[in-house]
Symmetry: C2
Subunit: 347 residues, 2 copies
């Protein structure tokens, strides 16, 4: 309401508005005496710069956007926390948006709200086409999370990702290493999103290496990466005739795995004795589930760090930078859903 402005501070300190501005921006050429006097007034009045005015004048707001398909997905929620932490270190504030995987919404965020309010956007795309994004990335700082869906030499924007093929391969190899031969995959996307395609590729690769033949009946299509789809897919798999029914399942996300675990529970099948379960995401929820879930854990802190730093560099620079692709590490955490037995968390 009664917002304190530079003018108020200037009057109190007995200097000009511009001098106060110089002080708060840490500009050089301010004498120590003046600086102290101004800072005192700033403190007394509780002055805070007006971001709107600042942005209007400089073109920078110190705000960046993070757009994810779904905030209630533990993976994205945890990622958002890391992004916020990284951004805070650079003095940036994060505006979190939810796209529902809607292409229009994803684009609107990058062009609409983005261009006029935010300095840049970190986007986890789901529905939007690479071409559209590339067009935007050329005129607005944009970092994409997750695997890109076009060829390696056609990078049209900055990317931060994990090696999805390798991650899926490791998880599947782990399942095969238990001696399982009827390994199912839950997460083949009807819209064939890039992430889904690459995880399927890693899955098939691992099967091939293990000498297990790929059975399409064990890789049903799903609509969304949520618990409900995981449950329904697993239920259908569990009802397959003996001999076809899987003895292991690799889920493309922890949420799908949570649904699958539930379906197995309802069907009276034991994990991992009857069906071993592995997935990708490494959310806290997976660690605490019963049994705890074997999962490939992407280094979320690294992803967030790379994305924020990359975006910040692009924002700061006024010359067009070449687009970069950063890969963050991941690790397989083997837990009860494949090992069996009871582990004791924390001691």
């Amino acid at each position: 309401m009664a917002a304190v402005t530079l003018k108020d501070v200037a009057e109190r300190a007995g200097v000009s508005i511009k001098t106060v501005s110089n002080v708060v921006r840490d500009a050089p050429r301010v004498s120590e005496a003046t600086r102290k006097r101004v800072l005192k007034a700033v403190h007394e009045l509780g002055y805070r710069p007006n971001p709107s005015a600042r942005r209007l004048r400089t073109g920078h707001s110190g705000l960046i956007g993070l757009a994810v398909p779904d905030l209630a997905t533990p993976y994205f929620a945890e990622l958002a926390q890391h992004v916020r932490a990284e951004a805070a270190q650079l003095g940036l504030t994060v505006l979190i948006e939810e796209t529902s995987g809607d292409a229009t919404e994803e684009l609107r965020l990058a062009t609409g709200v983005g261009a006029s309010l935010l300095d840049g956007v970190i986007l986890s795309p789901l529905g939007v086409s690479p071409d559209d994004l590339a067009a935007v990335a050329n005129e607005f700082p944009l970092v994409l999370l997750g695997e890109r869906s076009y060829a390696r030499d056609q990078v049209g924007a900055d990317h931060v990702l994990i090696d999805n093929v390798a991650a899926a391969r490791e998880a599947t190899t782990h399942l095969a290493g238990l001696g399982r031969t009827r390994i199912a995959a839950i997460g083949v996307d009807r819209q064939a999103s890039a992430t889904s395609r690459q995880r399927l590729e890693g899955f098939q690769l691992a099967l091939h290496e293990a000498g297990v033949t790929y059975d399409p009946r064990l890789a049903p299509s799903i609509k969304e990466f949520d618990r409900r789809n995981g449950l329904l897919a697993m239920r259908a798999l569990a009802e397959l005739p003996v001999g076809v029914r899987p003895d292991a399942v690799f889920c493309f996300s922890d949420l799908l795995a949570a649904g699958a675990q539930r379906a197995l529970f309802e069907a009276g099948l034991r994990i991992p004795d009857d069906v071993a379960v592995a997935s990708i995401d490494g959310s806290d929820e997976a660690l605490y589930s019963t049994p705890s879930l074997t999962s490939v854990v992407p280094d979320k802190a690294a992803i967030a760090g790379l994305a924020v730093k990359c975006l910040a560099a692009r924002i700061r620079s006024d010359v067009p930078l070449p687009f970069e692709v950063h890969t963050a590490p991941h690790w397989l955490h083997a837990r009860e859903s494949t090992n069996g037995g009871h582990q004791r968390l924390f001691r």
Copy 2:
């Protein structure tokens, strides 16, 4: 980058800047012919109003903040989705912030970023004192989520909440109705947050009504409302000597219950046969856990709707409105963790 401004549109349409402004704001006194011509230019150039400039001039940005302690808590993530949906209907954009329950951070959000960038804030307070918030609420649109911590006639800000005492009472009564007599509570907060105190009150009330004496050993203090604290608290309870060990537990949040379920699993105790479990939050995670979790489900859509509408009204009004307290409904969903047996989700 090359942002389109009113000036560009005005030149293209052959009218003054102000006329374009009038058109895009739907101001009266614009002839139909002019309006059409201007809208055509707007569309052709892809003009989007600059929120910073608009906010600077009018004092309104169309942005509201939602500040929650922790985004990775399913309850808050789900609530955020509802808030976003409600706000979108009113043409408002939501900036989601995470406070970690830190009092300084909570206040900074309301005064700092808030006052100069946002039109108003919906805050789920955890650490900040009511007095500080009341002071802020008087000069900045603020709606608080969750129970207030001061007397009924001292309302210093708008509130949207559920009846925590009643909710806790219903859950506990449900446990007592199973014939359980050694009922534990997990969620007594070391900092004695308002929510925690009220849930404890409802818990004790229900025990009294059921003729069960309250045993402080069964209501340990915890530090945070997360899975880890739930696990550690339940583990300690499970290790109590026979005769003292609980046969039921009421957790103050789904996250605590998830940890408690894990601890019971590790201890080899069956749910609900050995220990029945109930909680508050009604997150999706609780529905899918094994066994599914009996929980009191607050009407999150109602909470979000009331909060957003209340905040919007306060933003629009230039006269100080009286502070209001809105109560959203809640329901007890009894599931496997108290009923036993297997239910089949979806059909």
